[in-house]
């Protein structure tokens, strides 16, 4: 087995950040905790080699991203999109409504597209690093990111239009 002390230190130090990434990938805190545990269990099996390779966090993140894709394929209906009772209402600011709408749109994106956006715009990975994490080509990363952003932009454009119309009518 691996270096227990080093592994423990890694978990304590990096699990908050990894959990946040998991949350953005899955949109659900409890699932993210489980995903993180699954990834840690897999990393621990080869911890010596993982640390020798130099970037244990990237390794665990890669496991999370790929595990997450598998989960989604098996249980595409498990995610909580649309099951959240508190929605941005008419009294809330347009900025809040906009961010809420974007988050819902992110959750509705295909898993790979969402993973690309999280890795690129949350983790700030380069296109090459994102491709390595996902096990795909840089071209795929580019196209997925472009597609995802385009959908969000369309949503934002539409939301702005609707909000403006409402203000005019109000």
């Amino acid at each position: 087995m691996g270096d227990d002390e080093g592994f423990r230190d890694f978990v304590i130090a990096r699990s908050p950040a990894l959990l946040r990434t998991g949350y953005l990938l899955l949109g659900d805190r409890a699932l993210a905790e489980d995903l993180l545990q699954t990834a840690l269990a897999k990393a621990y099996r080869h911890w010596g080699r993982v640390t020798a390779a130099g970037s244990p966090e990237a390794y665990v993140r890669r496991i999370m991203v790929n595990e997450r894709r598998t989960w989604w394929h098996r249980n595409p209906g498990r995610e909580l999109v649309g099951a959240i009772p508190d929605r941005a209402g008419p009294d809330e600011s347009s900025a809040l409504a906009e961010r809420d709408a974007v988050w819902r749109a992110v959750l509705a994106l295909p898993p790979r597209t969402r993973a690309v956006l999280v890795l690129r715009y949350w983790e700030d990975l380069s296109e090459a690093e994102t491709a390595a994490t996902l096990g795909c080509s840089v071209g795929t990363v580019k196209s997925q990111a472009s597609r995802g952003l385009r959908r969000l932009q369309e949503l934002l454009d539409g939301a702005a239009g609707a909000y403006d119309r409402k203000r005019v009518q109000g």
Binding site: R8, V11, I12, A13, S15, P16, L19, R20, Y23, L24, D28, R29, A30, L31, A32, E33, D34, L36, Q37, T38, L40, A41, K42, Y44, R45, H46, R49, V50, A53, I63, N66, T70, W71, H73, R74, N75, R78, L80, A83, I84, P85, D86, L96, E98, R99, D100, V102, W103, V106, L117, V118, Y121, W122, L149, R150, L152, Q153, L156, D157, A160
Partner: protein
């Protein structure tokens, strides 16, 4: 209009803010590893910490204290032995072994509107409240020790949400917020008579944007769905606002065809907005509604039958499967596949694994172990999962899927990824081949009814075909297709 990527960065930052581990992550890891090693655990707090349900509670995992003094602040009460109470609380895990000293109940806020059939028993409610405040202190100390932010808890916010009988024991839930009101902590309290012990609970930041799912137990309008082990049994817990109704969807089954069998929902009776009821685990869900509005939906599927003491029955099934497997089978890999499958199945069904069989085991072209394992469910359908070791020390699989009842030996499996895939031929097949892009054909050297097929050149495998001894085509399969996904 701001560009989408800018808004996206803001949204990610906003959503990720406040997402901190609600449990001792390393402690949970150790607990999960222990479970994977089949060490018998009494109780089920471990599984509670490995929450999968959409909005399930995440009890913190702090080591329960065997030497915790019995709390009976309001006079004489039955004094169960320490062992009997220990048998009623979740297993002892890692973390801080010593809870904060009890605060006299006279220094804690007087409680109103406590729910549950024991709410009128002052001795019980006082003892539960005292233990609950200790639990909240334990939780905060544990979070701080693991690098989390420190919070100053507001004693005046302390609320005893309910006290209810749960089998042979008693279950209570206590909540509190910090001085800012933005950080909330809950503590489960398990007891016998008027002796209570804090056993951890969820904690998280509160904001208007994350009031999601069924975990809103702050304020006077709680929406809460969870489950908790008490004295070796799992109890579902539902807290709902007045006039709300609850619906219970029993754990779905997987039918003989490998697909989920929809189970009819039925009403869950609430008394004063509370239900504490025994459940056998599985993927049960509870939905809380008021009028036409769904207030929240929560899952009860955290426990996987681990509330009962004694050895895990899956151990014997795996040991037998390894014994019956081809020589040289990597037993650890088989165990890993079965454990992973158990977690996967737990997400979608309450069905237990009733049989384990190694469909094929062997080596890759690089001499690394590879296996395909079938796990039978009560309907006869089987969950099939593969795993192949990689040269960098990792391992991977295709994700697995279901095979209908009676089809296990009639199915041609082709499971893997770009580094290669495992072929397992149906019964009666003596030869197999892989059809490649460009028209090429790669013969498969079968051994024990299967083989690991490494890619040749740049050709992509398109189809696998299996033949009997007379050359008749028995089955064909596109790699990574053919399995049912419930």
């Amino acid at each position: 209009m701001r560009p989408a990527d800018e808004v996206l960065r803001d949204v990610f930052a906003e959503r990720a803010d406040g997402i901190t581990p609600s449990v001792d992550v390393y402690g949970v890891f150790l607990a999960r590893r222990r479970r994977n090693r089949r060490r018998a655990l009494v109780g089920a707090g471990v599984a509670a910490a490995i929450v999968v349900g959409a909005a399930a509670a995440v009890p913190a995992v702090h080591k329960a204290d065997r030497s915790l003094p019995a709390l009976s602040p309001t006079g004489p009460a039955p004094t169960p032995t320490d062992d009997s109470l220990t048998a009623c609380v979740p297993p002892i895990l890692s973390g801080d072994p010593t809870p904060p000293p009890p605060v006299p109940v006279s220094q804690l806020p007087r409680q109103h509107d406590v729910r549950g059939s024991l709410a009128g028993d002052r001795a019980v409610t006082d003892a539960a409240l005292v233990a609950g405040w200790q639990g909240i202190g334990l939780n905060e100390r544990g979070l701080a020790a693991s690098g989390g932010q420190r919070h100053t808890m507001d004693r005046s916010s302390l609320r005893l949400r309910f006290v209810e009988r749960a089998g042979a024991g008693t279950l209570a839930l206590v909540t509190a917020a910090d001085k800012t009101g933005r950080w909330q902590v809950a503590s489960w309290v398990v007891g016998l008579g008027t002796t209570f012990r804090p056993t951890g609970g969820p904690s998280e930041r509160v904001s208007s944007s994350d009031r999601t799912g069924a975990e809103r137990f702050y304020g006077d309008d709680p929406v809460y769905v969870s489950a908790y082990p008490v004295c070796g049994r799992i109890f579902g817990v539902v807290l709902a606002p007045p006039e709300a109704t609850a619906t219970l969807l029993a754990a779905p089954h997987i039918g003989p065809d490998g697909k989920l069998v929809t189970v009819a929902a039925h009403a869950l009776p609430l008394t004063d907005g509370l239900a504490v009821f025994p459940t056998d685990g599985g993927a049960s869900k509870v939905s809380i509604t008021r009028g036409a509005t769904v207030l929240g939906t929560g899952s009860l599927n955290q426990f996987d039958g681990l509330a009962k003491p004694g050895p895990d029955p899956l151990t014997a099934l795996v040991d037998k499967a390894v014994k019956d497997a081809p020589p040289g089978t990597d037993a650890d890999m088989v165990r890993f596949v079965v454990q992973s499958a158990r977690f996967d199945l737990r997400d979608v069904t309450g069905d237990p694994i009733t049989g384990v069989r190694v469909l094929w085991a062997g080596r890759t072209n690089k001499g690394l172990p590879a296996v395909v394992v079938a796990m039978t469910l009560p309907s006869g359908a089987a969950y099939v999962s593969d795993r192949t070791a990689h040269s960098d020390g990792t391992s991977g699989g295709s994700g697995g899927g279901m095979v209908p009842a009676g089809q296990l030996d009639r199915t041609l499996y082709a499971l893997g990824n770009r580094s290669g895939f495992i072929v397992v031929v149906p019964k009666g097949a003596t030869r197999a081949e892989v059809q490649l892009t460009g028209g090429g054909v790669q013969q498969v050297a079968l051994r024990y009814g299967g083989a690991f097929v490494a890619p040749v050149g740049r050709a992509t495998p398109m189809n696998v075909r299996a033949f009997d001894k007379d050359g008749n085509l028995l089955a064909e399969q596109v790699p990574n297709e053919g399995l049912v996904h419930p």
